[in-house]
C-alpha cells in the first residue's frame, strides 16, 4: 500500500538520521495512541460528521483508509471513572485539590469553542464523502488524535490587592481565570479554582459573615459564592451586567448585604445591594444604592456599611446611612462628593466611631487619596466637615494635608491598622511608610519593581505587596523582611512579536523567559524592554530563578536630564543549547531619538539613524552551584550594525553550535573554543576547561543580498533534527520571491535554494524529520529528500499576515514529529487557532484543533514529552498533549484491566526483574506492525530512551505542593509507569 511505502520512506529517513534518538520513540508513540483512538472513536463520531475530512493539495489515493479529521472528544477518556471519585473527595479539606473539577469545566470550555469554530476552520476543507468512517479504520491512523489541553498554570494576577484570610495563613489572589490560594508559610499554591471560562474574574472579596466564604465577581455579570476552604461553589448568580467589584458590607442574622458595582447603561456605574441568605445561599436584590453617571473605580465600606467611600476619576464620594436600632442597615445613603484637581489613582479610608466626650453621631472618617502627580492628600474627619459645610458652619475648612514624596502616581495607599501610618507605593520601587504624627518617612527601597497593590493584614503584622513583575511579596511589618514570595510568569506585552522564551532541552518543565522588569505596570515611564531572565518551573508554577541579562534601570531613577526615560536594552532572542549547558541571548539597545538628533541631519534616513543601535550576542554557561547563568562571551555587533540586525537564532540539536541569521543576508555559525592563554588552557577553580565562543563560519548568501541597500526585515533559521542541514530564509520589503536556502553547516555550502516555500513577511520554518514545514500565509510541507512540495494548505487570510499583525507560531515536537501551528487575528475580537498536525508521509493530517479568544505569546514544543506548550497573553501556561502521552502508563493500566491481563505479569516481571533488557530493545528502532495490536510490553520497552532515562520515582514523587499533586489513582499510575519502564 502506498501508506506503507510512505511509512517506509519515513523509516528510511529516520534511519538516515539514526543518530537522532527520537526517531524510534516517535514511532512508538503512534502506536500507543492508536489504541487510545479506539475508545475515543465513539464519542468522536458525532462531531466527525460536522467536520468533514480536509486535506492538502496532493491528496493520496488511499486517504479513505485514514481516519477523518476529527475533533477531540468532549470528555477525556479517563474522566468518567475519575470525576465521581474526585467530586466525592473534594467536598472537604483544604489539601484536596479540586483539579478534576476545574479541569472538567476547563475542558468543556475549550471544546465548546472548538466545535463552534469547526465551521469556520482555518484550514480549507474539501467536502468529504468518507465522513462516515468506520471506527476500525481509525486503527490505521498512526498518531493519536486524542489531544487534550491542560488547565492553565500561572497567569497574571488581576488588579486587586491580595486578600489575607482572617488567620493570615493564606493569601487569596485571583488571576483572570482562577482564584488562587497561596499559603503564606510556604509561598506555595494551595488551591485554585476556576469560576467561569468565558469571562474574566474582576474581583473577589471575603464575606464578613463567614470567613470561609468568598465572593467572586465576573466580567460577564456572574457573581459566585465559594467556600474557599474546600473549593466548593455554593451559589452562582447571573446578574446580567458585568460586575466590577463585589463588596460585602454588612451581616446580621444569617443575612449578608453585598454591594455590587456594576456597569449601568451609558457610561455610568451603579452600586446595587443584594441580600444573601447565608443559610440557603439565596441572592436577593435589594436596591440600587448609588446610580451616577460616573465611572466609579472602586468602593470601600466602613462601620458595618454605614459609611461608603467610592472613587471616580477625579472625585471621592462619601455615602452615609444609619444603622437601625436592631443593628440592621438602612440602605438609603446620603452621598457627598469632593472633586480633586487631578486623577485619583488610589485611596483608602479609615474610620473611628469616637467614644469621645463630644457625643456626636458622625464618625471620624479620615480619607487619604493618592493622585497621579505623586501627591498624597489626607483629609481628617472629612465627613463631619462636609456636614458642617452644609450647615454653614464655616469654622471647619476642608483642607487636605499634602504628603508629597512620590515622583509619579501613587499606585497604592493604605492606612496601617493603628491608623498612625500611611503606607504607599509607586513606580519608584520604594515602599514609603509615613508616620503622620511626626512627619517622618520610612523607606523600603530597591524592591524588584514598582508596587501596584498593597494589603495590610488584619492583625497589622504583615503587608502583602503586589508588584509590577506579576509577583506578590509579603513583608513582616516588624522588620520589613519578606516572608512570602509568589512569582508568576512575567512575560511582557509582546503583541506583535514573539516572546523570547525557550524550554530547557533536558530538564523537564523548565522554561526560560526574557522578561521586562515591569510587565504588569501601565504607563510609559518605565521601559518595557526585556532585561531579565526568568527560569520558571511549569509543573509547580514556581519561579526558580531570576537574573539580569542586560543592564537595567529597575530601581534607579530612570529619567534622563532631558526628562525622557532611559532606554534599556531589549532581549529579542533566547536559545538554549541541546545539552542545556549554554544559553544564547541577543539584545538590542537603541538610544533615544532626541539624543541622536545632534549626530544626524534631518535628511538622514531612519536607517542611518538606526546604526546607532547596539546589538550584542551573549553566551552564557550554566553555573551548577547556584543554577545561574554566567556570561562567557559577548559579541558586539555580530552582524552589520543596524536595527534588528539579528533576525533569528538557532541552536544545533546535536552539537555545540549556534547560528544567527542577520539582516545583512549572512548566517554566522558560532561554536565554542577552548580558551588558551600563552598556550596553556585556561581552567576554572574546579579544573574545568573554559571556553569562549567565536564565529566559526560566515555563510554569505550573496544572491539574496546582491544589489540591495536595505536590510532584510524578516528571516527564519532552523536546524534539521540531526543538525546536518540548516534552513535559512530572508524576506525583503521590496522583493516578492523568497528563497529558502538549505545549507550544510559543516561546509557552509548552500546546497539548495528553493523559492515559493515562504511568502513575504514573517515566516516560520521547522524540520519534522525529512520534511521542512514552512508557515507563512500558507502552510507548506517540503520533502527535503525528494525536493518536492508534498503538501500545501492555505490558511484563513484573516489570521495570517498581512491582515493579521499577531505573530504566528510553528513548533515541531521532536519526539513524535507532530507539528503545531498557531495563527491569530490581531484585530478585535482577537482569536487564536492552534492546529496540531501530523505530517508523516508528507501529508498534512490535522489531529486536533483548538481555538480560543485572545492571542498567544509563544507556542513551544515540549522537549521531554510529546505535546506542546502554549503561553497566552495573560501569562497562562497550557500544555497541549496527546492524552496517551500524559501518562503512558495509563494506557498500560487500561489495557491491563480490559484486554490483556496476561501482560501485567510480564510487565511486572519487567519491573521487578529484568530491567536490563530495555537497553537492547530501546535502540533497535523496531517498526511495529500495526496489525499486531498494542503490544504493551514492547511499548513500554521502547519508551525507554535517553530523554526519559532521567525519569525516576523521584521525579514522579517530587510534588511541589498539594495542588500539583495528582489524584491517588493517577499517582499510582505514574509510579507504575516509571517502574514499568525499567
Amino acid at each position: 500500500m502506498a501508506q506503507l511505502a510512505k511509512r517506509d520512506a519515513g523509516v528510511a529517513f529516520d534511519g538516515a538520521a539514526s543518530d537522532s534518538p527520537h526517531a524510534s520513540k516517535r514511532q512508538r508513540k503512534r502506536n500507543s495512541r492508536k489504541s487510545a483512538d479506539e475508545s475515543a472513536s465513539t464519542s468522536a463520531h458525532a462531531t466527525s460528521e460536522e467536520t468533514p475530512l480536509k486535506n492538502g493539495t496532493a491528496r493520496p489515493p488511499d486517504v479513505q483508509e485514514l481516519g477523518p479529521y476529527e475533533v477531540t472528544p468532549r470528555v477525556p477518556r479517563h474522566e468518567p471513572e475519575k470525576s465521581p471519585k474526585s467530586q466525592a473527595k473534594s467536598t472537604r479539606a483544604v489539601e484536596t485539590p479540586s483539579k478534576e473539577k476545574g479541569q472538567t469545566i476547563d475542558m468543556t470550555m475549550w471544546e465548546d469553542i472548538s466545535t463552534d469554530n469547526t465551521k469556520a476552520l482555518a484550514v480549507k476543507t474539501k467536502p468529504s464523502k468518507v465522513s462516515e468512517t468506520p471506527s476500525k479504520s481509525k486503527k490505521a491512523q498512526p498518531v493519536s488524535s486524542d489531544w487534550s489541553l491542560s488547565r492553565g498554570h500561572g497567569g497574571t494576577f488581576i488588579e486587586q490587592d491580595p486578600i489575607f484570610t482572617s488567620d493570615n495563613q493564606f493569601l487569596i489572589i485571583p488571576t483572570h481565570s482562577d482564584v488562587k490560594i497561596f499559603s503564606t508559610k510556604t509561598s506555595l499554591l494551595v488551591r485554585s479554582f476556576q469560576v467561569d471560562n468565558k469571562s474574566d474574574i474582576t474581583n473577589c472579596a471575603l464575606s464578613t459573615a463567614d470567613p470561609s466564604r468568598l465572593y467572586v465577581s465576573n466580567s460577564r455579570g456572574l457573581l459566585s459564592m465559594w467556600d474557599w476552604v474546600s473549593g466548593v461553589i455554593l451559589r452562582k448568580q447571573e446578574l446580567g451586567r458585568g460586575v466590577q467589584q463585589v463588596l460585602p458590607i454588612h451581616s446580621q442574622d444569617k443575612k449578608e448585604i453585598v454591594l455590587v458595582l456594576q456597569q449601568s447603561e451609558g457610561k455610568g456605574t451603579s452600586a446595587v445591594a443584594f441580600a444573601v441568605d447565608t443559610a440557603t445561599n439565596q441572592f436577593n436584590q435589594l436596591q440600587v444604592v448609588l446610580q451616577r453617571n460616573l465611572r466609579l473605580s472602586s468602593i470601600q465600606a466602613h462601620a458595618q456599611g454605614s459609611i461608603l467611600v467610592a472613587s471616580a476619576r477625579d472625585r471621592i464620594l462619601v455615602g452615609q446611612s444609619q444603622l437601625t436600632a436592631d443593628g440592621g442597615l438602612d440602605l438609603t445613603y446620603t452621598w457627598r462628593e469632593i472633586s480633586f484637581p487631578g486623577s485619583i489613582i488610589s485611596f483608602d479610608a479609615q474610620i473611628n466611631i469616637g467614644k469621645s466626650k463630644t457625643s456626636r453621631k458622625v464618625p471620624f472618617l479620615d480619607v487619604a487619596v493618592g493622585l497621579q502627580n505623586g501627591a498624597i492628600i489626607h483629609y481628617e474627619d472629612v465627613l463631619f466637615k462636609l456636614i458642617g459645610r452644609e450647615k454653614k458652619n464655616l469654622n471647619q475648612d476642608i483642607v487636605g494635608r499634602k504628603l508629597h514624596w512620590h515622583r509619579t502616581s501613587v499606585n497604592t495607599l493604605k492606612w496601617s491598622r493603628d491608623r498612625n501610618y500611611l503606607i504607599s507605593g509607586g513606580d519608584e520601587t520604594v515602599l514609603v511608610i509615613w508616620q503622620l504624627d511626626t512627619n517622618q518617612k520610612q523607606f523600603l527601597p530597591h524592591l524588584s519593581t514598582s508596587i501596584l497593590g498593597l494589603t495590610v493584614s488584619a492583625s497589622g503584622s504583615s503587608y502583602a505587596l503586589r508588584l509590577g513583575d506579576n509577583s506578590i511579596m509579603v513583608l513582616s511589618t516588624a522588620d520589613l523582611l519578606p516572608s512570602t514570595n509568589i512569582n508568576g510568569l512575567a512575560l511582557g506585552d509582546t503583541q506583535h512579536h514573539r516572546a523570547p522564551v525557550a524550554l530547557h532541552p533536558t530538564a523537564e518543565n523548565r522554561l526560560f523567559a526574557a522578561i521586562p522588569a515591569n510587565p504588569v505596570t501601565k504607563g510609559s515611564l518605565r521601559g518595557k524592554s526585556s532585561t531579565l531572565l526568568q527560569s520558571y518551573d511549569l509543573e509547580s508554577d514556581l519561579q526558580i530563578g531570576r537574573q539580569a541579562l542586560t543592564r537595567n534601570m529597575t530601581t534607579a531613577l530612570n529619567v534622563a536630564p532631558s526628562g525622557q526615560s532611559v532606554q534599556e536594552p531589549n532581549v529579542t532572542q533566547i536559545a538554549v543549547s541541546h545539552d542545556g549547558k549554554w544559553l544564547a541571548t541577543v539584545d538590542e539597545w537603541q538610544p533615544n531619538d532626541q539624543d541622536l538628533d545632534a549626530r544626524y541631519i534631518e535628511a538622514d534616513a531612519s536607517r542611518d539613524r538606526g546604526s546607532a543601535t547596539e546589538t550584542s550576542l551573549r553566551l552564557w554557561t550554566v553555573n551548577d552551584n547556584d543554577n545561574t547563568w554566567e556570561l562567557v562571551t559577548r559579541v558586539d555587533e555580530p552582524h552589520k550594525p543596524g536595527p534588528h540586525s539579528i533576525l533569528g537564532l538557532a541552536v544545533s540539536p546535536t552539537r555545540l553550535e549556534m547560528a544567527t541569521i542577520g539582516s545583512d543576508a549572512n548566517i554566522r555559525l558560532w561554536s565554542p573554543k577552548a580558551r588558551h592563554r600563552n598556550g596553556v588552557a585556561v581552567r576554572n577553580s574546579s579544573n574545568e576547561q573554559l571556553y569562549t565562543w567565536t564565529c566559526s563560519r560566515t555563510i554569505p548568501c550573496e544572491q539574496d543580498a546582491s544589489g540591495r541597500t536595505e536590510a532584510a526585515t524578516w528571516a527564519a533559521l532552523v536546524y534539521s533534527d540531526d543538525g546536518s542541514v540548516l534552513a535559512g530564509s530572508w524576506s525583503w520589503q521590496s522583493d516578492s520571491t523568497r528563497f529558502v536556502h538549505l545549507i550544510d553547516p559543516r561546509t557552509g555550502q548552500i546546497s539548495l535554494s528553493q523559492p515559493d516555500l515562504l511568502h513575504q513577511g514573517d515566516g516560520k520554518m521547522e524540520f519534522s524529520g525529512r520534511y521542512l514545514v514552512c508557515l507563512s500565509q500558507m502552510l507548506t510541507v517540503y520533502d527535503t529528500l525528494t525536493s518536492q512540495v508534498t503538501s500545501t494548505i492555505s490558511l484563513d487570510p484573516a489570521l495570517v499576515s498581512p491582515q493579521s499583525q499577531a505573530p504566528s507560531f510553528l513548533a515541531v515536537n521532536k519526539l513524535d514529529g507532530t507539528v503545531a501551528v498557531s495563527i491569530s487575528r490581531s484585530q478585535k475580537p482577537r482569536s487564536t487557532k492552534v492546529l496540531v498536525l501530523n505530517i508523516s508521509g508528507g501529508e498534512i493530517k490535522p489531529l486536533h484543533e483548538i481555538s480560543f479568544p485572545g492571542t498567544i505569546r509563544s507556542l513551544l514544543a515540549s522537549t521531554t514529552a510529546p505535546g506542546f506548550l502554549i503561553v497566552d497573553d495573560r501569562n497562562v501556561l497550557r500544555s497541549l498533549k496527546p492524552s496517551g502521552s500524559q501518562v503512558i502508563t495509563s494506557v498500560i493500566s487500561r489495557s491491563l484491566t480490559t484486554h490483556e491481563p496476561e501482560q501485567v505479569t510480564k510487565g511486572l516481571d519487567n519491573i521487578f526483574g529484568r530491567a536490563g533488557v530495555n537497553t537492547v530493545a530501546g535502540t533497535d528502532g523496531v517498526v511495529e506492525d500495526e496489525n499486531v495490536g498494542g503490544d504493551v510490553m514492547k511499548q513500554s520497552l521502547t519508551n525507554e530512551d535517553a530523554t526519559t532515562s532521567s525519569r525516576d520515582l523521584n521525579s514522579v514523587l517530587r510534588i511541589v505542593s498539594s495542588t500539583q499533586a495528582p489524584s491517588p489513582a493517577e499517582l499510582f499510575q505514574r509510579v507504575v509507569g516509571v517502574l514499568a519502564k525499567r
Partner: protein, 908 residues
Amino acid sequence: MDVHRSRFVPYPASAISALAFSRSSDSGYTGPLPALKLAIGRANGNIEIWDPQKGLWVQEAILLGNNISIDALAWTQDPDEKDAEGHVLPGQQRLFSIASSAAITEWNLATGQPKRRSTGNFSEVWCFAAQPRWKPQKNSEEEARAQELIAGCGDGTIVLLSTTDDDLQFKRFLARVSGKKARCMCITYQNRDRVVAGFADSMIRIYDTRNGSLLRTMSLGVSIPGAPKSALVWQVKCLPNGDIVSGDSNGEVKFWDGRTYSLVQRISGHESDCLDLIVSSDGRTVMSGSIDGRMAIYRQSTGDQGRKSWARSSHRRVHSGEVKAMAAFDSKGMSVVVSGGSDLTPMVQPLREYGKENLRALPALPQQPPVASAPKARLVASWWEKSIYVWRITKQSTVDSVPEPQRPRKLVARIGLDTKDNIQSASLAFDGRLLAAATTTEVKVFQLRKRMELDALAVRKLAVPGDFATLGAHVIEFSPDGEWLAGATPEGEVHVVRITHDTENPKHLQVLSKAVELERQHRSVQPSSAFKAYERTVNRLTFAPDSSVLVAADRAGYLDSWILEGHEDPTAPAIDIAKHESKVGSSDAGSDSGSSSDSSDEDDSNIIFFGQHWTDNPAAHLLPKLDSQALVMTFRPSRLRQNGQSMVNGNPGIHSTRNNPHAHSHELPRGEHRLWVLTAKHEMFEFDVLAGRLSDWSRRNPTATLPDDISKIRDRVMGAVWDVEAQRQRLWLYGSSFVCMLNVGVDLADSGHPQALTKRRRKPKGDSEGYESDRKRRKLESGAGGKVASALRNGAPEIVKRHEEDGALTDVKLNGQEKLTQDSDNDDDEDDERMDLQLTRIRNGGNDSDALSAVAKSTGERQWWCTFKYRPILGMVPLEDDSDATDGGPLEVVLIERPVWDVQNQSS
C-alpha cells in the same frame, strides 16, 4: 517708542534679614485701628516701610541704614489716650531694630533717621521682642502701660527695656545665662509677664519678667542621628493659648504645652534648619521656613478622642535661597504671611486661604525709581548709597549714517558724596547742566559741563545756602527750566532755591544764597492716625512744565501747591527780601493777596527772585485729599507752554518805588496746568491745579474707565513718562513688572457713554469710594495673590456636592468668606459697574484676540497698551533727540532692568 533696554546699572540690592508687621492681628483693639505697616529690614541696613492694606502692598518709604544688617525689627504702640471729647486717640507706632551690635535703635519714621539708641553693659543683641500690648481689664482700673522690650544677647544676657514716655531706657537685666553656648537665639513673650527664650545650647528657658525668676528649662532633647549634639533653637513663638512652638537647627518643629512646659509633639518639618516660624491668630496654623527655601504649613486638628494634634499639611519651595525671616498678619479681612531671604524678594503667601490663593512676589526694587535723566543732554543718572553714576546714551542711529560705530553708552561721571548718610534722592536738570543730591541731612548741587576733549563730564560743586544744604531732603526736584530747585525736608517742609548764572563767570552757575520755605497748608491729621508725623512727610514734588507751579504730595494724600508770581525779570535784583506786609505796615493790598492769609508762620518775609515770587496757589484748598499717597504725579505737558510768558519777558513793567520797594508782578501763571495723579490705590485723577478742580478729561474718565487689563495689575506704578506730540498725548506708566500706555489725548471710554458719566457723579472726588470697585474685586481674597485656578490647587477640594435623595445635586459652598461678602451694601452697583466695564471693553477692544490693547473706533489709535516683557524694572526715563528738537520723532526712553540673577551675582 524707542526703548534703550539697559541692564548696565549696577544697582545693588541686599537680602532681607528681618520682617515685622506693625501688629499681628486686629483682635484686641477696642478703639480705632491704626494703619497697618510692614517693615522689611535688609542686610544693607535699610528698612522699608510697606503699606499692605487690603492687598495693595505699596512700598511707602525706605529708611536708609548704614550697611549694618538689620537683624530684627519690632513695632510698639504707645498707650491710647483720650482727648477732651472722650475720643480715643491711638498711641503712636514706633519701630525698633537691632543690628548685630550691643544697641537697640529706635527709628524716626518721619525723617527716616535713627531716633535714639539704647546701649548698655551687654554684648551684641541677637534677638528682641516687644511685650504684648496692654489690654484694659474689665474690673481693674489699672493705668495703661507702655510696651516693654526684651532683648537677648550673645553672652546669654536678657535685658529688659522700657519704652514709656516716648523714650527707650534700659530697665534691668532679667537673667544672665552662663556657659559657652549660652547665646540667646530667639525670644518671645508668652504673655505680658512671661518670656520664652531659646538658646544655642538647645535649651528653651522661661522667665518671669516681674521678678526675673527662671520658671522652667526645656531641652530639645536628643537630636536626630547625624546631627550635632546640641541644636540651635532658631525660633520660638507662642500660640494664643500660651503653647510654645520652637524651630531648631535639626529642622524639627516642636510643640510645647504652655502650662506644664512639656513637649507635646515633634514634627520633622524640614530637612535643613528651620529658621523662622509664624503662628496664626487663631492658633491653629503654624508656618515654618527653612534654610533651603521651603516653607511648610502645620495645622492643628482634633482627633477622635478629642486629642488635638498638629500635622504638617503641606510644603512648598518659595524662595530660591533661604527663608530668613517671616512675618504674619492674620485678621478677618487679610491673612497673609510675608517671607524674605537671600533672594531679595518678599513673598506674600495667604495664610488662612493657603493653597487656595496664589503667592505673590513683591518687587525687590525700590518704589521710587533711583533713576533720573536729562533728556536734552541724553544723560541718565542713577544713585545708591553714596555715589551717583551718570551715563550718556548714544542715539541709536541707522547703520550707514555713522561712519564708525559709537559705543551705545558711556559712563560720563561718577560722583561719590562725602556725606554721613546715603543718598535719598537726586535730580538732574532737564538740560543736564545741574545735578542735585540729597541725604536726610544734606543737599548738594553740582554743575555738570561737557569737557571739550573728553567724554567725561566736568563736575563742579555749587555752594548751597546754609539751611537748605543742612536740612537735608527726602525728595529733591529741579524745575524743567533749570532755574529752581525744590526740596522736601525730612521734617516735611518744602524749600526752593533759585539757580542762576554766575555774573562773574558766565559759564558757572550758582545757587542764590537765599532759600525760600513754602508754607504747607495746615491740615488736621486724622486723629486716629498712629503715624502722625510719618504721614505728613512729603514724598513727591513736581513742577509744571513751565516751572510756574510746584506741587508737593505727602503720604497721607494731601496736595500742596504753589505758584510763581510774576515774570522773570533779569534786571530785577536777584534777591529782594520784602518784609511781610503786616509787619512793615504797608497797605499795599496787591502784595498781600498772594501770601496766604491763613499763614501763621513766624517767618514771614517774602523773597523775590528776579521779580518772581513763590506764593500759595489760591485754589490750593480746593484740591482734595487723595485717597492714598500719590505714586505718579505729573503735569500734562502742553505744546504751547511758552505762549504766556513770551510777551512779558524782558518787559517787566513793574519797578520798585519808594512805596513799594519790593515791587513785583502779581500776575499769576495762566493757562491750564493739569496735574495727572495716580494714587497708591491706582485711582486716576487729573486736576486743573489753578482752578482747583478736576479737569474735563478726568470728569469724562474716572478710574473705572481704566482698562481692566491695567487695573487688575497688582504691582504698583512707579513712574510715568509723557509722550506728547502734536497729534498724540500718551502717558507711559511703568511698575516693576509692567509698562503700559494710556492714550490720554482722547477719552479712554467712549465719551457718549452715559453710565460712565453717571458713575462719575456718584463718586465724590477724593473719597475712598472710588477705590470701591478695586476693593470689591479683591475683597474675596485675603491679601496675597489671586485665587488659584482650581485645576492647580492641590489638596483643597474644588467642589463639594451633596446628593439629595431624589438624585439631585446641590453644591455646597466652599468659599470660606461668605460672611464677608454679605456686608456689602451696594452689590447692585458693583454689578452695574462690572457690566459697564465689560461694555467698555467690548466697545474699545471689540475682540479679545489682542487682549492687552484696545483701539478706539473713531481715531484708529490705540487707547491703551500693556506689556510684561520687561522685568524687573528699576526705572524708565525719557531721552530727547539732541540733534533736531523738532517734534514728530518717536519717544525715546531708557528702560533700566535689574534682573534678580544679576543682583544676586553681584551681591554674592
